[in-house]
Symmetry: C2
Subunit: 338 residues, 2 copies
């Protein structure tokens, strides 16, 4: 089945009021995105040596819709205006409210719609998995991994929101957020999900996947943090220095505050959470991150975590082609540009 | 298993930061609530004549957590400060932010937390169902009803949000919202879910359930709308006249605007969406709803819809005890106080 086509058709049948919802869901889910979670799930499946089938691909693709929910809700929580170079969902429905001269607060309408579209994506994901055509026994083996992945996502998101609200910086706490949001949710659990799809006795393989996925997930989050400050907007789809503007409490930030002089610390502090940040202020913060050695410290940590991940698969009983893909994916998720 | 106990234990193991989340989830899910959707699901199951078992009860209870998600997100979308006589989730986390003197906007922190807790409730619901201990074949029969129910909820919620934003009143459109939000989500689909749990060939029974559930669901929503204006705060858990304050576009409102004189219409219009509404203004609006005959029109419609629902079960092939329960539930969900 074409990704979510039946679902948007159903929305349109309920009524023309739902046309903007159908269009927004199609665009958001189909226009772009790296598809990392389905990719890891599929490679996790291949690692078992089982033979692929269309229902396996559909089951893996269902993970992408969990991520659609996460992104839509994340943008509301962070107040992010852009996503993948386009207006975020709440912003685009806020604009629709203004265009159609609807009554009440356009901002509240945008928020409400983004909450509901995210919920719908989460429900569609489960429906897509449930109706993938997997044999009952296979589906039932994979469901616990799927559920754990979603619980860990929500727990990780709360840890992240709470960390921002603490307003202090701690390398340990930021790494814990990274472990739940990225280590588990993005890499370890999708691999486990794939292993459960392909094997009746995946325990040993799952251990190898954990040893690979947890450090690599942290490295992925650290790379994301570096790109949030140093990334090229044309590649990240977010404005330059966006993590400063949003005062994201990252490992890079915590390490910078630890290493910086009081003068440097106050430059960083005044940039954090400033919605009107200008290019020279972003550049000044970047210089401090470089000159203090904080950036290098993070780059070294990314490298060492990625090496641990690579070693973990060397010794695992993983089908050779999957092993090669896992190596390639380790490069892709930690490389210096998107 | 005790409802969601294992889940909150897991949150606490992740870290003490999650303690407030665990406490809020336990209170919200366990302190009160009418449990209508689990009740309808269980009666739908009993209607098949199958014998009950603990896993059936757990599967039905899982529907309550979908509703926990709906309420938490609904309160954010409506900007409602209270739920069941206590602060709504976003308000209680907003207060925690202030108490702990956290940084950033307390309001945004409250909103973010309520979005995540709602998401978590939705995921826990699926997990509770998946792990209920149902036989695979039974689970797989029930999943499509479960998924449809959740899609219809989200579609109905969007129709509702959009209807509020249109700012006009239409009986037809308000009834359509009631059909999705209450007819399908609250009654028809839970009954179908129960039927699928109990029978391998539930088609005829499901037809009877639809003929009962859709009109009764509309009647339930109409009763809710009447209580939103005329309800006793001690029973509804919401302030008096709350639907006026939130400018809810209900059938009662649409009919009042249709029947009222221009002078009456302008009194109603000035009350709608006024956050500082006082008791005499609520009373004036109530009088207009009574004197125009709009309230009676809605009461008559509730009665006729409830009669249709009752007739539908008279002729259905439904196990007698379940038939009696369905009759009782028709009273409960449409009676004049909560």
């Amino acid at each position: 089945m074409l990704f979510c086509q039946g679902e948007t058709k159903y929305l349109r049948e309920i009524g023309s009021e739902l046309e903007p919802v159908a269009v927004a869901m199609e665009r958001f889910a189909l226009d772009s995105g790296k598809r990392l979670r389905p990719l890891f799930a599929y490679v996790g499946f291949l690692g078992t040596g089982a033979k692929s089938a269309p229902e396996i691909i559909q089951a893996c693709a269902a993970l992408e819709l969990v991520h659609v929910c996460a992104l839509m809700h994340d943008d509301v929580m962070d107040g992010s205006d852009t996503r993948r170079g386009a207006p975020s969902i709440h912003k685009s429905f806020e604009a629709m409210h203004a265009d159609k001269k609807l009554v009440g607060s356009a901002e509240n309408f945008g928020t409400a719609t983004a909450i509901l579209l995210g919920d719908l994506a989460l429900v569609w994901s489960a429906k897509m998995l449930h109706q993938s055509g997997l044999e009952s026994a296979t589906l039932i083996r994979a469901l616990p991994m799927y559920d754990e992945m979603r619980v860990e996502l929500m727990a990780g998101q709360y840890l992240d929101v709470y960390e921002q609200a603490l307003g202090s910086s701690s390398v340990d706490r930021s790494l814990k957020v990274a472990r739940y949001k990225s280590g588990k949710y993005t890499i370890e659990r999708p691999l486990h999900f794939g292993a459960a799809l392909g094997s009746k006795d995946p325990e040993q393989l799952m251990n190898s996947y954990s040893s690979y996925g947890l450090p690599l997930g942290e490295a992925f989050q650290l790379r994301d943090d570096v790109l949030g400050i140093f990334g090229n907007p044309a590649e990240t789809g977010k404005p330059a220095g966006d993590d400063l503007r949003e005062a994201k409490r990252t490992v890079l930030l915590a390490k910078t505050m630890e290493f910086a002089t009081p003068a440097g610390q106050s430059i960083i502090k005044s940039a954090l959470g400033n919605p009107n940040l200008i290019a020279s202020e972003i550049e000044a913060a970047r210089e401090i991150m470089k000159n203090t050695g904080a950036l290098k410290w993070v780059e070294d940590l990314i490298e060492s975590l990625t090496s641990s991940a690579r070693e973990a698969i060397e010794h695992g009983e993983i089908e050779p082609l999957a092993k090669q893909y896992l190596g390639d994916l380790a490069d892709i998720v930690t490389r210096r540009s998107l």
